[in-house]
Symmetry: C2
């Protein structure tokens, strides 16, 4: 690297090009566009898909090259995608130096992992440092993610990956005293308990600075849902002010770069829709460690169509979370919960936010399952934090909900984060009805999640599904099972077509 | 799919856009560029990285979307990358219909493979049909390639993958009689025996229509090397004419779409530099089966820095090749050869072609190791084809070389393929010299290949390495070990810098 730098500083004039913002959104991958007659291409031997290091006043980005023969770019310009432009913090007219990046030695470790070998802590450090620095192309990221997926990482490797992720990010510290946290491993649509647990726990006097993620493969993450009610894109000083004032917060973790390598990996995991046990553990616990948490409750829904499908898989994952948590100096408690059906009625950011508000406001039609599960988990956090005796946490949580202190606390938090707002409502809707009368015997979470995503969630916050029935309920033929919400007629039509082709997403059996 | 088609034919006017060739070379991935104000984006809910099906007069391509906010594209146009433009065979002014592609069901099988499960033949058929049809994004291809890499495929899966690859391509047939073929599993720089074996075997009366590949991860494939001497980009009728006239040919297999899925996978394997045993077997044997071969000799160099590193790995791969060959109805014979050091002196298309010519012309300074290995393998082909008795093949091959009939045959083949030419010579060179006197004890094939690639091989045909020493040879301090050849000063400087940092690529030990 040092050699590459020094050669950059003495780069020939042909390697200096005027940057141009082409306004091409490549979804986060830095892409460089050079005209095929550009002198740098010839002198450096660059061609399509070459990786090129762009150096702007000492700030560097490695981009994938696209070679342009069209007339929208001059041979004297270096066009940049939006991601490259942002990362370089470039301004129109800036002149950058282009050269070959140093060979990416850490790819050798990725290859070893692909071939099934075990990696050392030093290998993970090298890979994650390069990932966080943006030196991996999307293809290379995809290979790493795929090689680690399933059970590609053993416990020691998972600890090493977690530590490597913490090393490359920011760390928050809160001084003496307990710092409570919770996390749901996901896979259960609408399971938006965090936004109820945080105000309950904070109202009971424990500190709970919650950094949440956006959706990876699900229709909504807690950060996506919270964002429909208040800003979540806070930096570290802003978060500290909110927590000092309110004792809790619900913000997006990515904005504070707690685990920047994880954020890079997520951009590839998302379109691939792959889950990895080791990466899941590293992703969760690296963010908890970096967030300065001392006690972490993990909500793990188990069910045949949840992310964790069996008691056996749950036991393995629980063990990994506890093992890695201990290695990271965290008190981790895992709560296995019912993953048979969605919790609440909404699936998608705005629809889930509506359910949360309805519970906190103690409205008569509030989803009872969401309220119950939130109070159970809040009770466990209160016990984990020693403000409630064993077995008494849930009653304390119920008290904070019933006396309105949790709702008051939630409004305080929203105001402190930048101001509370109402969630948006989708312009396009379509009801899916029961094609026969009978009892609902199964609800397929994965298909519901897929339909909600086809409808536009989470990128369109108002999009998703409003579920009208529960497991065991009797429905009449023609009765609405769920309503699709979408931001555009095209997205709605697409989701409806798929929903209609999967008629047993909500399984109804005629009563004998 | 049928639903998607019929809905496309009744697509609203907003889904019809004028195609524009943007002249962006994305290295084969079809990319679609739409302005963010384009109506299709809003009505269909498309956003960056969405997969979009483009339908032009019934020909369809699935492309990855980049959303443009710049002014080089109008909201009424659909910009296409070069790959998308070529696949659609579009013309300026054509109007295409854009819509969501049908959900890619076969991705479920890829995910199952990532999680370590075994796939059925039907699963491979589904994946490979989608891959050949261009429905996979590069990220999805990378996940599939990575999941199959190493020993990700068992023998039955490899047979299934091979059959699936043959099904989606063209097949050649040669009528009754033997059709000889050979293949080298690679990993040994400069091992360009095919271009000597084919004229020798054809001169001895056997039919040998050889389709070769371009380099995947090496500095040159046989097709790249042959192309410096004659056209290799022939279609099926042209190949048949050459073989009828000469009894043999050396052409590029990709031009005849013998295994189009393999060609798509290679575009991802190349930048990832990953090898996969199952994919290697499927890639080789699907092309042999599709090419109509009956008897195949596989040259497998074994050595610590060759592609196959140990006798144990060789035995496993040999078994897989024989097992899958038998299942495909091919007579496969595997020849384990010495993979300790490069064969010949040149590494890179033009430099390797020079070595081949020198052997065929029986020049005094011709590389003896290349001649010897070519004659051994040609002898095995002659024995496999029953024109030579066991143990007498090599003598027959030697005869065809010595009496000039092989050289005459080679010239005939080049002329029949479109005309013989001289290989190009690189404009930029640099000698790497010995830093001490002593004996050459090891030559690192992988590093040599890497240096040759950094110098520009195979995309720059004249680029590569000219090796001046052999294992066991005594060298004086200051004596040239090898010469780097490059097409540009930048590529040369880059390769030289790397070569100098890896001082033991050619390992010299001072004599005691």
């Amino acid at each position: 690297m040092q050699d590459a730098r020094s050669s950059a500083q003495t780069a020939p004039a042909a390697n200096r090009l005027r940057l141009r913002r082409l306004g091409i959104d490549t979804y986060q991958e830095p892409v460089l566009y050079l005209h095929r007659d550009c002198l740098v291409c010839h002198s450096e031997g660059f061609e399509a898909q070459s990786r090129v290091e762009i150096d702007l006043n000492g700030r560097t980005v490695v981009a994938t090259l696209n070679v342009v023969s069209g007339d929208f770019l001059s041979p004297l310009e270096a066009g940049l995608s939006e991601a490259a432009w942002r990362l370089l913090r470039a301004a129109e007219g800036d002149v950058a130096i282009l050269h070959h990046p140093a060979p990416l030695e850490s790819l050798g470790h990725v290859r070893a992992k692909v071939y099934g070998r075990r990696l050392t802590a030093a290998a993970f450090d090298a890979i994650i440092a390069d990932v966080a620095a943006g030196r991996y192309s999307d293809l290379q990221l995809a290979a790493f993610v795929t090689a680690c997926a399933g059970d590609g990482l053993n416990p020691d490797e998972t600890v090493a990956l977690t530590r490597a992720m913490v090393k490359v990010g920011e760390r928050m510290s809160w001084g003496p005293g307990l710092v409570m946290d919770k996390h749901c491993v996901g896979g259960l649509p609408g399971n938006r308990t965090t936004m109820i647990i945080v105000p309950v726990v904070a109202a009971c006097g424990l500190r709970m600075p919650k950094t949440s993620s956006r959706a990876i493969t699900s229709p909504a993450g807690t950060a996506d849902t919270m964002e429909t009610l208040a800003p979540v894109d806070l930096d570290v000083p802003q978060i500290k002010r909110v927590v000092e004032r309110c004792g809790g917060c619900v913000v997006w973790g990515g904005a504070v770069r707690l685990s920047p390598a994880d954020d890079v990996l997520i951009r590839v995991e998302r379109p691939l829709d792959l889950d990895s046990q080791g990466q899941l553990v590293a992703s969760v616990l690296s963010k908890k460690a970096a967030a300065g948490s001392t006690h972490v409750l993990i909500d793990m829904p188990v069910g045949p169509t949840a992310k964790v499908r069996s008691a056996q898989a749950a036991a393995i994952l629980q063990h990994q979370l506890e093992h890695v948590g201990q290695a990271m100096g965290l008190h981790v408690r895992v709560a296995l919960t019912d993953g048979l059906a969605p919790v609440g009625r909404g699936i998608g950011p705005a629809l889930e936010a509506r359910d949360v508000l309805s519970v906190l406001r103690r409205e008569a039609h509030a989803p009872a399952d969401l309220a119950l599960r939130s109070l159970e988990l809040a009770g466990m956090v209160l016990e984990l934090g020693n403000v409630a005796a064993p077995g008494e946490g849930m009653a304390m949580a119920q008290g904070a909900l019933d006396d309105g202190s949790a709702w008051t606390k939630f409004q305080e938090i929203c105001e402190a984060q930048g101001g509370m707002r109402e969630p948006p409502i989708a312009p396009c809707r379509h009801e899916i009805i029961a094609t026969r009368s009978g009892s609902v015997t199964a609800i397929d979470n994965r298909r519901l999640a897929r339909i909600a995503k086809l409808a536009g969630a989470p990128k369109t916050p108002s999009a998703g599904i409003d579920l009208h029935v529960q497991n065991g309920e009797f429905v009449e033929r023609g009765q609405p099972l769920f309503t699709l919400h979408a931001g555009s007629p095209g997205a709605l039509a697409y989701a409806v077509e798929y929903a209609q082709s999967q008629s047993d997403t909500v399984h109804v059996i005629e009563d004998a």
